[in-house]
């Protein structure tokens, strides 16, 4: 089980969540006073899973057409929104304020939390 508290310790974390392989929201934590609600988080989770599937198709096609390897299998998708970024890895995600978002740290934390690994 992913440690959402650990993810909420990331700088600028607004929410952390886990999702099913279909994108349904499973566990979630949202910081008090956040503009993000559970309904949005559930839709966001579906969106990230959908984009990982599309990216997986693209990575497959790309690697078939070129010698380049290292794209497949897709590990995560990040949406860079106006004010925040939703970083996902596998079935775990965290939402970070863009002003302080550390994508490298988020990826490492998500991988440690169960991510795609």
């Amino acid at each position: 089980m992913a440690d959402l508290d650990q993810l909420m310790n990331l700088a600028g974390a607004e929410a952390a969540f886990t999702m099913s392989s279909r994108g349904e929201l499973k566990e979630s934590k949202i910081v008090d006073g956040s503009r993000i609600n559970k309904t949005a988080l559930d839709l966001l989770a579906h969106m990230c899973i959908a984009n990982m599937s599309i990216a997986t198709m693209q990575a497959r096609g790309w690697e078939t057409q070129s010698d380049a390897q290292g794209f497949y299998p897709i590990e995560g998708f990040t949406l860079v929104g106006m004010d925040w970024s939703a970083v996902t890895n596998g079935r775990v995600g965290v939402i970070l304020n863009n002003n302080v978002a550390d994508y490298e740290a988020a990826n490492a934390a998500l991988a440690a939390a169960g991510g795609a690994a």
């Binding site: 599309i54 198709m57 497959r60 096609g61 790309w62 057409q65």
Partner: protein
């Protein structure tokens, strides 16, 4: 012309839109806001399907995927079908997709 789609079994609503996404007309058992939303969704979805079909064609080198004629998304109770710039919602219990698509192709290209 697209209003005639409502005579097809199972069709609950039908809309048409311009290439730039502007709503043209819509009919059926939905409010105006929902008809506009359906048209907006169909326009966006059409562009996504075109993008994915282009990629399929690009990766496989096979002809026949592009340009896509339309798309169908089937839910548990309802199905959304679109051809060109026309989209309709069909009740799965009442409608026959073959018939709906045949009529939709005619209506869309009228």
């Amino acid at each position: 012309m697209i209003r005639q789609m409502l005579a097809v079994d199972g069709v609950m609503a039908v809309c048409s839109f311009k290439d730039d996404g502007t709503f043209v007309e819509g009919y059926g058992v939905m409010g105006d806001d929902q008809l506009h939303a359906l048209s907006h969704f169909a326009h966006d979805y059409k562009r996504i399907v075109q993008g994915n079909a282009d990629q399929m064609s690009m990766f496989t080198g096979c002809n026949g995927f592009t340009p896509p004629t339309g798309w169908i998304v089937r839910g548990s109770g309802m199905t959304v079908c679109s051809v060109a710039n026309t989209v309709c919602i069909v009740d799965n219990q009442e409608g026959n997709l073959d018939e709906v698509l045949k009529e939709l192709k005619e209506a869309a290209h009228f």
